[in-house]
């Protein structure tokens, strides 16, 4: 039984690590802050959560398991907020969208008829 648990935890850790790796690859390869936030907020969150769940599965201590699961819950609550605030701050600071972007309704609303398309 404990061998089985170890296997499950091991597999979860590898999956979580792979997602975290793709999140960092995304940070390096994607062209601007907004697209990078996609990688960081989604793949990064899932990666960290899966690793924490692996900890909860493997921990033979109830207290550690509940703390790990609480960590998952707080991650899911806070990650989108930080992503949202970074994107909002960048946009209001005038950080342009990547030149390949196809539309920007927000800039259109702020100053009509001046798209950032190029």
């Amino acid at each position: 039984m404990s061998v089985l648990i170890d296997y499950v935890a091991g597999i979860l850790i590898v999956i979580g690590a792979l997602f975290t790796l793709t999140a960092s690859v995304g940070l390096l390869r994607l062209p601007d802050l907004y697209t990078r936030m996609h990688a960081a907020s989604k793949a990064g969150t899932l990666g960290s959560c899966v690793v924490l769940i692996a900890l909860a599965v493997q921990a033979h201590d109830f207290a550690i398991a509940t703390r790990a699961l609480a960590g998952v819950a707080f991650f899911l609550l806070t990650a989108p907020i930080s992503a949202h605030l970074l994107a909002k701050a960048a946009h209001s600071a005038g950080y342009r969208l990547w030149q390949g972007s196809v539309r920007d309704d927000m800039a259109d609303a702020a100053q009509p008829r001046q798209t950032t398309q190029s």
């Binding site: 792979l18 997602f19 793709t22 999140a23 690859v25 995304g26 390869r29 994607l30 062209p31 601007d32 907004y34 697209t35 936030m37 996609h38 990688a39 907020s41 989604k42 793949a43 969150t45 899932l46 990666g47 201590d61 109830f62 207290a63 550690i64 509940t66 703390r67 699961l69 609480a70 819950a73 899911l76 609550l77 990650a79 989108p80 907020i81 992503a83 949202h84 994107a87 909002k88 946009h91 209001s92 969208l97 990547w98 390949g100 972007s101 196809v102 539309r103 920007d104 309704d105 927000m106 800039a107 609303a109």
Partner: protein, 157 residues
């Protein structure tokens, strides 16, 4: 009702973080929950909407599924040799109007495939969403309206 639920939730969170579900600790968590809700008494409980546990559960299941799909798509995208990107920000007309519903919707949008909420307009009627593939904003709007927004309205009204 909503306040009672928040206090209970805070007590459970306290017990989970401290790692002990013993009655004294739960009681202490309840007291802490009441004290912290007291600090936010003007914000919490104003919106006295309904609450349907089963539909909230269904919303949570949908959310976990979408999060996994979304992480998978990001992984596939960044690992493909030629990234096919058509990013952009589109506006989304909000149907939900209460603050916590907008917050919930914005958070869910951020964690789901290809979309990231950037800002809410001053009048709280429009949500600006950044999409990694913005070639068809109408389809994206429809997805949100028929997916999360409908579920949120079902769960909390």
């Amino acid at each position: 009702m909503l306040r009672l639920l928040s206090v209970l939730l805070l007590a459970v969170a306290w017990a989970a973080v401290t790692g002990s579900f013993s009655p004294p600790n739960l009681l202490f968590g309840l007291l802490l929950g009441i004290a912290s809700l007291f600090l936010f008494r003007d914000e919490v409980g104003k919106s006295s909407g309904a609450f349907h546990p089963l539909r909230v559960l269904s919303l949570s299941v949908l959310f976990v599924k979408e999060l996994i799909v979304s992480a998978w798509r990001v992984a596939k995208l960044v690992l493909s040799p030629r990234m096919d990107l058509r990013p952009g920000i589109f506006s989304y007309p909000l149907q939900v109007d209460r603050d916590f519903e907008i917050t919930l919707l914005a958070n869910l949008i951020t964690l789901t495939p290809g979309t990231l909420s950037v800002d809410v307009s001053e009048d709280r009627r429009t949500l600006y969403v950044h999409a990694i593939d913005c070639s068809d904003p109408d389809a994206a709007r429809r997805d949100i309206a028929e997916g999360f927004e409908r579920k949120i309205m079902e769960a909390f009204r």
